[in-house]
Amino acid sequence: MDLSLSKDELAFRDEVRTFFKDNVPETMKQKLREGRHTSKQDLVDWTRILHKKGWAVAHWPKEHGGTGWTPVQQYIFNEELQLAPAQPPLPFGVNMVGPVIYTFGNDAQKAYYLPRIASMEDWWCQGFSEPGSGSDLASLKTTAKKKGDTYIVNGQKTWTTLAQHADWIFCLVRTDPTAKKQSGISFLLIDMKSRGITVRPIVTIDGGREVNEVFFDDVEVPAANLVGEENKGWDYAKFLLGNERTNIARVGMSKERIRRIKELASSVQSGGKPIIEDQKFREKLAMVEIELKALELTQMRVVADESKHGKGKPNPASSILKIKGSDIQQATTELLMDVIGPFAAPFAADEPGSNEISDWTTQIAPGYFNYRKVSIYGGSNEIQRNIIAKAVLGL
């Protein structure tokens, strides 16, 4: 057992850290620190900087533009990225549809889509959930009927993150209505410019626009856009959902949040003293830091296990990362609410520079509201507990 990084790994960490220090755009850092939404252009520009360096799709196999890093190196990369703080490349392309395409797609699909994902030529979104199919995803109803060499798609997706920016959507669709649940589903790539697609925004409780409904009305999709085999989509979806493993804990992001909490708690006063001097507050913060350290080590154990045994089946331990990772992210947003106190109330549009005094405060309550999502999406925390109970504990 050795918890420390090797000399090479430390050198790698320094290299990555220096690159981020020199290359992450200041505007992005500032927005992330203050919990603001980044723009489409922010992420496109940043991904292109990473791409130029060869790091936009770091974890992909080398032949598709990846780095060939070890799991530990990838872990270091993600951690440093979040600490910078910088935004990770858009997960829908890089972590979700990309790996599905290079694992199950045909050569033409690989040749066309993969480079465009890496260079952020295409913005992807994820069309899985439907109004009636959230936790029970396999009950989805959107249909794709084969007609010559096209599919005709009808139905509705919802909660589609940033679909308003998207060029492409990858969808789970029902191609065999007679088959039982999981077995009649296919994985289809759909051009968002296709006729018959309507995107309607859903405003979230923080006032943000990050999710949408996407309607399909007789949308024609070339049959060539089917990934893998017809009616095998559920297998690819399971592969995709299990693939996230190490990113979901967001340890680096929570560390960065804790730094931010300390910074603010050192300037906000209570009774003539900074909040950080309050014993009770410090203890609450310390408790979250302890939980976070535990999570970091748990995550490193998962990573080390992968290094030794290779990426096999999704590790049920990833449910621990999801549950604790989201708990801790939510706890940091609560601590920020505690720090800001009565100044949580003013609502201001998410635009910096409008008011000097309140600028740093206006995104704290929205952040607290918005982060309720992390225990809902990506398999809710209840569903994660079901997985642990069944797959780990055998109950």
Partner: protein, 381 residues
């Protein structure tokens, strides 16, 4: 011992609930939020017509002489409907200062226009660094001639955008956190030297940052003793905390109802999600949290009439802690059990969560009040 409402109190409850039922559903609320200042004058007039704006004032002052329980009933109903109108700012706080500390002339000048709905008030108390400490006051009121000159900045003044009159805490003597030397002043919102920057708050209410520069008021502007009004301020803010506890109970109660209803109707995996035992237990825990909070809100309501100000303050602080703890749990779990739809503006449940979250950070959060209870030696001796 009797926790039941009297016949009259039940009638009051039925009439407020009835009024809000017909005039305050979620869609109507959206419309009211668009009106000037973020609330509806016509609803306000209805509240006046039903006598609700006059409840706590003595009969001599034209009110109904109602007590703490009646205010609790109203606030709970307002919490259920997520009412935007400035009842807390005008009737509970503004009215509280006037009826508890106002001179006969001040009462005669202000109370009738509160009762008939023609005027509203706002409490300008919070400062940049005062946080939850009511004695932390840097805004000054200096003697000039017979009257006073007020200078300072106040923040997050609820109803500050539309109020006709501000009730301003200001220091007449002493240093920033001295307990003596604080006064309370009635200042017309259109007085020279006042600038008001209004904005919506996270929960859909409206507030303002208000700057007073060289604002002159008469000698009759001071409520109570201008050099020692902190005890009055503490008492009225306790009134507000008690009212907020009741409002939170209403909002939690409705959150739980909506959640239970959702558990019964939302199906996943071919069954209502309410059949999953883990969700049943979660809802049960929400129920437990709500009822514990309700008990403490009642305790605080009773405490309003305690003779000993310290005892009252500790009881109210304890209630605010329990309510704060419960509202975080109930509010967060209500969203969680709704899944994605809980995250949307379109669903009512998220709005309850937001209002509850703001109540937690108003006039002292749970940590602040927990410290007060512990400094007082706890509740049990």
């Amino acid at each position: 011992m009797d926790f039941d409402l009297s016949e009259e109190q039940r009638l009051l409850k039925d009439s407020v609930d009835g009024l809000l039922k017909t005039s305050y559903d979620f869609e109507q609320r959206k419309k009211y939020a668009e009106e000037k200042g973020g609330w509806s004058k016509s609803v306000w007039n209805k509240l006046a017509e039903q006598g609700l704006l006059g409840l706590p004032f003595s009969e001599d002052d034209g009110g109904f002489g109602a007590g703490a329980v009646e205010t609790m009933i109203v606030m709970e109903a307002l919490g259920k409907a997520l009412v935007l109108e400035p009842y807390l700012a005008t009737v509970v706080i503004g009215g509280g200062f006037l009826r508890r500390g106002g001179s006969a002339a001040q009462k005669a000048a202000y109370i009738p226009s509160i009762i008939d709905g023609s005027k509203t008030l706002a409490f300008a108390q919070l400062e940049k660094n005062s946080r939850y400490d009511l004695a932390d006051v840097t805004t000054t009121a200096k003697k000039r001639g017979d009257g006073w000159v007020i200078d300072g900045e106040k923040f997050v003044v609820l109803n500050g955008e539309t109020a006709d009159t501000f009730i301003v805490t200001a220091r007449t003597k002493g240093g920033q956190r001295d307990h003596t030397g604080i006064g309370v002043f009635l200042v017309p919102a259109n007085a020279k030297g006042i600038s008001i920057k209004g904005y919506p708050t996270q929960d859909g209410l409206h507030a303002a940052d208000v700057t007073f520069s060289n604002v002159e008021v008469g000698a009759d502007a001071a409520i109570d003793n201008p050099e020692n009004a902190l005890p009055l301020i503490e008492q009225v803010v306790d009134d507000a905390r008690i009212a907020l506890c009741a409002e939170a109970i209403g909002a939690m109660d409705e959150s739980l109802k909506a959640t239970v209803e959702y558990l019964k109707t939302r199906t996943q995996f071919g069954v209502a999600i309410g059949t999953f035992q883990v969700l049943q237990h979660r809802a049960s825990d929400m129920f437990v949290a709500l009822e514990q909070a309700r008990s403490m809100a009642m305790f605080a309501t009773m405490a309003q009439d305690f003779d000993d100000a310290k005892e009252r303050a500790t009881a109210v602080a304890a209630a605010k802690v329990q309510v704060g703890k419960s509202l975080r749990f109930v509010g967060q779990q209500a969203i969680q059990l709704h899944g994605g739809v809980g995250m949307t503006m379109e669903f009512k449940i998220g709005h309850y969560f937001k209002r509850l979250s703001m109540i937690e950070n108003t006039f002292g959060d749970s940590d602040y009040h927990l410290k007060r209870v512990s400094d007082a030696g706890g509740l049990i001796n």
